[in-house]
């Protein structure tokens, strides 16, 4: 029987009521008395030298409060990068400055040149048109392989070239890798692109900043996944403000998918301008502006080689990737193609020798950073595509080839720096085969063929490293932050509980799922527990939500804090019951003395904690505990996905007919929410595979800069999905045994779609080896007829 409350129950989301009635409180819904509006004048060329900017006409326009340029920010820091990656020879990455407003040069279309603060947005926009500037257009470089060439146009004049780093992981000895490949019975090689994407949360970014001269305090409301991270970076590295004088609030946030992790120039600008203008200021991004200023995702070009022995065992893997970082280093950009990508190249397989090389480039494009999955989709795509190609070349069943090479013993040390704690890849594949009705595929293919369509089946596996991350490990790898999280469990006198968490919910349903855990531990109704998040003045210092970490890391902190609360409550109960603390048991909200009928209710104990008339002398009054939790390892969700497509041979149009996901997320708190997370990830993965593409022309102009040109998946592009998460190997090192589910769908689905398309084409006699994403009708048609 499914549970109706607590851990494992599909509790309905309490936050839905406000969202369904228009009562949400998103950042753009916040208006502060007297606020002025910010409009950023952004570069319309991709690369240019700023000779002069004249703001005098603009300053005299109606309603203008002040006009800012890069000169106003010469005294403050630039936007920091949070991860220093060392190159293969040990040298630190090249790390150019990232000013709040452009200084000296503009380096991508959308780079902010100036900002106007005015009484109304219209006045600010009108005044921006009156800014006179002389920007000398320079040649651009947008292609990452071209950027790597000696003599290329340099994005940053002060760097020695455009190569941020040339990084290596795994077997460093080329000769050893060469020997493995020389001795292989078969080598499969694949060149592929992982297309650049735009995260596109439906809520564009917004900042509202205010400053009080009376108290010298700032408040920044911002669309962020991690308000404490924003406060720390902005205060310590950019503006030089004391953290305790700055409050950062991320209220209801309309989706993030990674793009709202990063500290953006607009946040620092608005905070700075609120004081400089002595007026609250507000900036609301338009969607067009979002395409030019939100960090983008993916954008890798890879050559991967898989070596197999005569028995089809994987014996070696070598992969060389060019990663496009854009014009500047966004907050976590450097870690994505490296530690979040190279470390996943073992996938679900016991390949003994792996060599990963990544060259990361600066180009005249919008900065690239983490987008749902962040490095792991890029790893999964290349690995699962090359395995599929190998199976086809060898004439073996793609599932059998995968099963033969699965890791089956845990813990497992990969050759690329990770230790998988647990998993059951065969068991998960069994679930997929049943849930996807693979046995019925032949009949469905025959039916499609009778209708004049080609039908293909694509299978793939994935593994991801989530629950980011053990601070000591990431510290060794160059992270400039710890990646623990924190929770404070504040029990009120009447027994209700406020839990202040570092995690941030921007669609994940924390307000519902987190109370399920606390309520279960104490045995009280979920409605007695409330989650507080998103406000640095209310929550302990936590690192926020990304990397499928909320429950695994912050949830673990919450469990620890709740355990501390229960331990203290037991002391109080023991006193009230005149029993030994060791004999006190807590069940269903009642403290009982083991083996007796003596009991005291949760509410009586909590009231006693705050009205301590009859109280143990050695115990402090009150009932509130904080815990920080730093994970011992990453978590390793894994799964197997199946996609069935139909291809119209006349037009090349691909239709997703069936999509099945079998995931192992370990233990699950709220199955309904987990299903929803997987659905959403698959939707984005199908978007990457079939529709979405962020394209620049050779001059660095973004050609896909609106929803007219960037093809977002719509309701009629996707089917109903079948989701199975009954394969469960609980995480061995966190108290809930949870692994995280937020990114799986986006990681696991693109290769399944492309594998299915290739399979369909082969079934029609078209020996197409690969089609790059998005697998658009024109590309499919060209591949079939090329």
């Amino acid at each position: 029987m499914p549970k109706d409350s607590g851990i494992g129950a599909s509790s309905k989301r309490r936050e839905d009521v406000r969202f369904l009635t228009g009562s949400g409180n998103y950042t753009d819904d916040i208006n502060v008395r007297g606020q002025a509006y910010v409009y950023f004048l952004r570069s319309d060329i991709a690369h240019g030298r700023i000779n002069s900017i004249d703001t005098s006409d603009a300053e005299s326009m109606p309603g203008v409060v002040r006009v800012f340029t890069g000169k106003d920010f010469e005294g403050v820091g630039g936007l920091p990068c949070g991860w220093e990656v060392a190159d293969r020879h040990g040298a630190p990455m090249q790390e150019p400055p990232h000013p709040i407003l452009a200084q000296g040069k503009v380096r991508h279309v959308g780079d902010p040149i100036a900002a106007v603060v005015a009484d109304s947005l219209e006045q600010a926009r009108d005044a921006a048109e009156a800014i006179a500037f002389d920007i000398e257009e320079l040649p651009t470089v947008t292609d990452m392989k071209a950027a790597a060439q000696e003599g290329s146009v340099k994005v940053h004049d002060d760097l020695k070239n455009n190569i941020c780093y040339d990084w290596m992981l795994g077997e460093a000895d080329n000769a050893k890798v060469d020997e493995v490949f020389a001795n292989a019975a078969h080598v499969t090689t694949l060149e592929l692109t992982n297309n650049r994407l735009v995260a596109n949360p439906m809520e564009p970014r917004v900042c509202v900043a205010e400053y009080s001269r009376g108290t010298d305090e700032y408040t920044l409301y911002t669309t962020s996944q991690n308000p404490h991270v924003i406060r720390l970076l902005m205060c310590a590295f950019v503006l030089g403000l004391p953290e305790h004088k700055v409050r950062v609030v991320a209220p209801d946030v309309g989706g993030g998918f990674g793009s709202k992790i990063f500290h953006y120039a607009e946040e620092a600008f608005c905070t700075f301008a609120a004081k400089a203008c002595n007026r609250p200021v507000k900036w609301t991004s338009s969607r067009s502006e979002a395409f030019l200023s939100d960090a983008q995702g993916r954008d890798h070009v890879t050559t991967i080689q898989l070596a197999l022995d005569a028995q089809n065992n994987f014996i070696g893997l070598r992969t060389d990737t060019y990663a496009n970082l854009g014009a500047y280093l966004s907050t976590f950009s450097s870690s994505v193609p490296t530690w979040l990508h190279g470390t996943l190249m073992a996938g679900n397989y016991k390949t003994p020798v792996i060599q990963v090389n990544v060259k990361a480039m600066f180009t005249n494009t919008v900065p690239v950073d983490a987008y749902r999955g962040a490095g792991r989709p890029e790893a999964t795509f290349q690995l699962e595509r090359v395995i599929d190609k190998a199976a086809r070349e060898l004439g073996v069943d793609p599932i059998a080839l995968r099963r033969q090479n699965f890791i089956t013993q845990f813990p497992y040390d990969t050759p690329v720096a990770l230790t998988y704690d647990t998993g059951d890849y065969n068991g998960t594949m069994d679930k997929l085969e049943a849930a996807a009705d693979l046995a019925g595929f032949a009949a469905r293919r025959a039916q499609s063929e009778a209708n004049g369509k080609l039908r293909g089946l694509g299978i793939n596996c994935y593994i991801e490293a989530c629950g980011i991350a053990p601070s000591n490990i990431v510290g060794m790898l160059g992270a400039r932050a710890g990646l623990y999280d924190a929770a404070t469990v504040r029990v009120n006198a009447t027994g209700s509980i406020s839990v202040m968490v570092g995690a941030h919910s921007h669609g994940q349903g924390h307000e519902t799922a987190f109370p399920q855990v606390v309520a279960e531990m104490i045995g009280i109704d979920e409605s007695m527990v409330e989650i507080v998040h998103g406000d640095t003045s209310k929550i302990p210092f936590g690192m926020g939500t990304y990397g499928s970490r909320s429950l695994a890391v912050c949830g673990s902190a919450m469990v620890k804090a709740t355990e501390k609360v229960i331990d203290k409550a037991k002391k109080i109960a023991a006193h009230l019951l005149e029993a030994s603390e060791a004999d006190i048991e807590l069940k269903d909200g009642q403290f009982t003395v083991a083996g007796t009928d003596k009991s005291v209710a949760w509410g009586d104990v909590t009231l006693t904690a705050y009205v301590p008339h009859n109280f143990p002398l050695e115990v402090e009054p009150g009932l509130e505990e904080t815990a920080f939790y730093d994970p011992a390892n990453f978590t390793f969700p894994a799964g197997a996905y199946a996609c069935e497509v139909e291809v119209d041979p006349e037009t090349g149009k691909v239709t997703i007919e069936r999509f099945t996901a079998a995931d192992d997320f370990g233990n699950i708190i709220n199955p309904m929410i987990v299903d929803g997370q997987v659905h959403g990830g698959i939707g984005q993965g199908i978007g990457q595979a079939l529709l979405e593409n962020c394209v620049y022309d050779e001059n660095g102009q973004l050609l896909s800069a609106s929803y007219m040109d960037y093809a977002m998946p719509r309701a009629d592009d996707v089917p109903f999905y079948t989701v199975d998460h009954s394969s469960r190997t609980p995480c061995t090192h966190n108290p809930l045994g949870v692994k995280g589910c937020g990114e799986a769908g986006a990681i696991g689905s693109p290769p399944a779609v492309v594998n299915a398309v290739i399979d369909a084409l082969h079934s029609g006699g078209k020996k197409v080896e690969h089609i790059d994403m998005p697998v658009s009708p024109s590309r499919v048609w060209a591949a079939m007829n090329g």
Binding site: G22, Y26, E122, M202, S288, G676, G680, S706, M712, V723
Partner: protein, 161 residues
């Protein structure tokens, strides 16, 4: 500035607007009805869908002055008289048809317009009708399911797990 008057969620309202003021801006900035969201600037995303004289309209694609004298319905007016969720809203909650909630007002308003014209739409009809509403969170699965459920159809057979 020109005065504009209309009925919003059954209440007469008026305000002075510029000729270029969009209906979405009038609702959000003049009337503080911030449930109507603006997610793009090309009329594509549908987060701003409201009802104007009973028809679903993207309020970012209509000037406030064009709505002069109209009956406008927004997400804030959708709940039942006692404040409880209406059938569509309740179905969205029951079937987890929303995550971040940003596209949700537009989705609910579009769904209401669809069901008014087509009380028992098929899955295909729902998906086609929602062409103008983008959701980035749900992969649409539970939105389609919720609308089918709101129209009284049995969704138990739609695989979730």
């Amino acid at each position: 500035m020109t005065q504009v008057s209309m009925t919003v969620n059954g209440k007469s309202v008026s305000g002075d607007v510029e000729g270029r003021t969009l209906l979405s801006s009038f609702l959000r900035d003049h009337l503080s009805l911030t449930g109507t969201h603006v997610g793009c600037d090309t009329g594509q995303c549908g987060a701003c869908v409201v009802h104007v004289d009973g028809e679903a309209v993207k309020s970012c694609n209509m000037l406030a002055l064009e709505a002069d004298g109209a009956e406008v319905g927004t997400i804030e007016g959708q709940a039942n008289a006692d404040g409880s969720l209406n059938v569509i809203q309740q179905a969205f909650q029951d079937h987890h048809g929303l995550q971040c909630g940003f596209c949700t007002p537009g989705m609910v308003m579009s769904a209401a317009a669809l069901l008014k014209d087509n009380p028992r739409p098929t899955e295909t009809e729902i998906r086609e009708y929602l062409e103008g509403n983008i959701c980035r969170c749900t992969g649409y699965h539970n939105i389609v399911k919720a609308i089918m459920a709101a129209s009284g159809q049995d969704v138990g057979a739609i695989a979730a797990e």
